[in-house]
Amino acid sequence: MDRREALSRVALIMGGTIIGAEAFLSGCKNPPAKEGLFSTEDVALLDEVGDTILPTTAASPGAKAAQIGAFMKVIVTDCYTPEDQKIFTDGIIKLQDAAQKKYSKSFMEMSPEQRTEFLIALDKEANDRSKEIAANDSKLTDEQKHERKLQQDLGTYKRPVEDDPHYFSLIKQLTLWGYFTSKPGATQALRYVAVPGSYQGCIPYKKGDKAWAT
């Protein structure tokens, strides 16, 4: 009987959900054990961060309704390089530390207004970083860019530290991508037509009309 199975039996005996199951699973270690790269708390935090970037509006539900935290977990785990995984997971800690430092409370405890204000500042930091990377990139010759691509193809490319993306750029990127390809994002925020039936080349568009999801 492994630990997880033991847990479900405990739950059964006690007749309900166990509060602090993460702590039980990990043997009360601190920080809580992670299932792979992300803990349940991480996913919950990413849901809130995502929902601050793309919140519920009159027009459509926010990113949390698209389970954006779980999406980020899947993509970072399965599609990211180890380097980017580290930037992302370190970023979760950095984000929490920065929140603590600035507001003397955790991101989860902050008010919606504080969260927005905080992420606007982070977004600026991330944009500055992106500009630096773009500037580095523009110094490369076509030949150097081609050499880089060949190395990337062979899996031998080591990205210099000065080209590392800001963790918040990664979070925001995944939030936008995940949300607009999710069911609420595609069908409520955008217009999703699974079977158009025909193509019409010129139809009227007025400001405010939603874009096609696909």
Binding site: I75, L190, Q200, G201, I203, A211
Partner: protein, 573 residues
């Protein structure tokens, strides 16, 4: 394996057909259909698994959010399979129809991205479905400009066969009346959007000898009776084609030729049958069958027939032929002149030009269209006049993405709602350049490396040359100039410098020609030196033209198959 047939007569009888077709992709499907329509008992061999139309399209109706990675291929698969991962059509919804690099290794003496689909239907499930006829200028090109060898046929020889396959496959397009891109048997064309029309008008006005037209593609915009009889219906403008179409909206072997051939009662499909080689009988002086290895059990079998069509797709056709050695053909099937596997060519896809377009923000489009505007080649058409040989076809398209919300604070509700609107128009343009077949661009068998079926691996020695570089340079400058004249802004030229292969338009190695000394196949895709074996996939191509090649493979195949039937009935083969 030698040439002696250690097999009892009963088993031999059971394994004997009138014709064998190797490969069930776009050309193999056509060979099977034509032969079966003429009452020829045909065995269709396919190395991959069976894929039955409608039944075996597991992702065909899935929404983006129903894929765990919303379409993205996980890193581990990409790292293990870098070649197929570079293919534009390889994504979470289509990956099951592509060969993974790890499953079927090959040797790249020079980098070559070999994209393959091993299943019944082959790459006909995955193709880009653009279908233009060659003009007389492509068939006359090699003789006029002194490269490759003269084609043994001209446009008039193939024109009726273009019509034959177009009517059955269903090709949409406009009657444009251009001699550089002859009209065909068309279903209604797809519309251009407002920006594409504006660019078309401006380019056509600025250049007297350049003609932007709407692309022609193998989609049923308005099915005819013949398509309804195939069980196909109108294309629904979903653009999820690579997953297999539940409407039969585009042409594939699976939706069209194979079920049609099955209905004749003359077709036997044998999936999971990897062809090792063609059996040549030195006493009868002809091919008598093929050696097959079961893809799963590795058990070897022999099948026999009077006619053999090799349609395994360009490089695998070359591989099978090179591996088919006998006393008569010690260097590969039909290879008396030593040219088998040589004069490989492809299409140059390296150049793209992108731009933004201001205006027409009150216009949009509905649906997802399977083609785009294009321009037939305008270089060296009537005479050699550039600092490079041959030319290129140009494609472009205009789209609106999502708005960027650039002017806003990029966090929060206002930003989110702004992102849901349609964004600016952007334009992208690409080239499809002819490459010159050269003896030095070749594939051959590895002397020491074999695959899991004991068949030698294929070695690639194929590359660009200076002509390709000059042609690319011309496209980049002309593309940028045309978009500039069309009023586009922020024009960016890009050379991807990608290895050959991602065009998936590989051609040659077993070319047609008039002279047995310099070609392998005659005007009917028949070996000069073995009359009952035919090759009518990309391997037969003497030169590449600038057109998407599949329609020409189909027409050549239908023509060759009908010729084979006539010859069989006359007792000539």
């Amino acid at each position: 394996m030698g040439d002696t047939l250690n097999i009892n007569n009963k088993a031999k009888q059971q394994n004997t057909y009138d014709a064998i077709v190797i490969g069930s992709g776009i050309s193999g499907g056509w060979a099977a259909k034509e032969l079966c329509d003429h009452g020829i008992k045909t065995l269709l061999l396919e190395r991959g698994r069976n894929v039955v139309h409608l039944k075996d399209y597991p992702t065909a109706t899935m929404a983006p959010w129903e894929f765990p990675h919303h379409g993205e291929i996980p890193l581990k698969i990409k790292e293990e399979n870098p070649v197929v991962s570079r293919c534009y059509a390889f994504y979470e919804g289509s990956q099951h129809f592509f060969v993974k690099d790890t499953e079927h290794p090959y040797i790249q003496q020079k980098p070559f991205d070999w994209i393959r689909g091993y299943q019944v239907g082959g790459k006909s499930l995955l193709w880009a479905r653009q279908t233009q006829r060659w003009s007389k200028y492509e068939f006359e090109g090699p003789a006029r400009d002194n490269y490759a060898v003269d084609w043994p046929i001209r446009y008039d020889d193939i024109a009726p066969w273009y019509s034959h396959v177009e009517k059955f496959a269903g090709i949409s397009g406009n009657y444009d009346g251009l001699e550089t891109l002859p009209d065909g048997e068309f279903l209604p064309a797809w519309e251009m959007n407002c920006v594409e029309k504006d660019i078309q008008q401006k380019i056509n006005a600025a250049y007297p000898n350049r003609n932007v037209i709407q692309g022609r593609c193998a989609h049923l915009t308005k099915p005819n009776q013949i398509h309804i009889e195939q069980g196909r219906t109108q294309c629904q403008a979903r653009s999820l084609c690579e997953r297999g179409c539940p409407f039969g909206g585009y042409f594939s072997s699976n939706a069209s030729t194979i079920p049609w051939a099955l209905k004749t009662g003359n077709l036997t499909i044998q999936p999971e049958a990897t062809v090792h080689s063609i059996i040549y009988d030195d006493k009868l002086n002809k091919a008598v069958g093929v050696r097959v290895i079961n893809t799963n059990t590795k058990h070897a079998t022999e099948y026999f027939a009077k006619i053999i069509f090799v349609n395994a797709a360009c490089f695998n056709t070359n591989l099978i032929l090179l591996n088919s050695t006998s006393n008569r053909f010690p260097n590969g099937f039909g290879n008396d002149n030593g040219l088998l596997g040589k004069y490989i060519a492809f299409h140059n896809y390296r150049g793209t030009v992108s731009a933004s377009y201001d205006g027409l923000m009150d216009k949009y489009y509905f649906g997802r269209r399977p083609t785009q505007p294009m321009m037939p080649n305008f270089r060296n058409v009537y005479k050699q006049e550039m600092d490079f040989q041959r030319g290129y076809m140009t494609f472009y398209g205009a789209d609106r993405g999502r708005a960027s919300g650039d002017s806003l604070q990029q966090i929060g509700g206002e930003y989110k709602d702004a992102l849901t609107e349609a964004g600016d128009w952007y334009v992208s343009m690409m080239m499809q350049g002819e490459t010159i077949p050269k003896k030095t661009n070749e594939v051959f068998l590895s002397k020491d490396k074999k695959d899991d079926w004991g068949i030698p691996q294929l070695v690639f020695n194929v590359d660009y040359d200076d002509n390709d570089e000059r042609l690319l340079k011309d496209f980049l400058s002309q593309g940028a100039e045309m978009l500039d004249k069309a009023g586009c802004k922020n024009i960016v030229q890009h050379d991807s410098r990608q290895a050959p292969g991602l065009d998936i338009h590989e051609m040659g190695g077993c070319r047609m020609g008039k002279d047995p000394g310099t070609s392998l196949l005659n005007a009917y895709n028949q070996f000069h030196n073995c009359k009952n074996v035919f090759v009518s996939d990309g391997a037969c191509m003497t030169s590449t033209g600038t057109q998407n090649p599949s329609l020409t493979f189909m027409a050549l195949t239908a023509r060759a198959a009908n010729y084979a039937v006539d010859e069989l009935k006359k007792g000539n083969i």
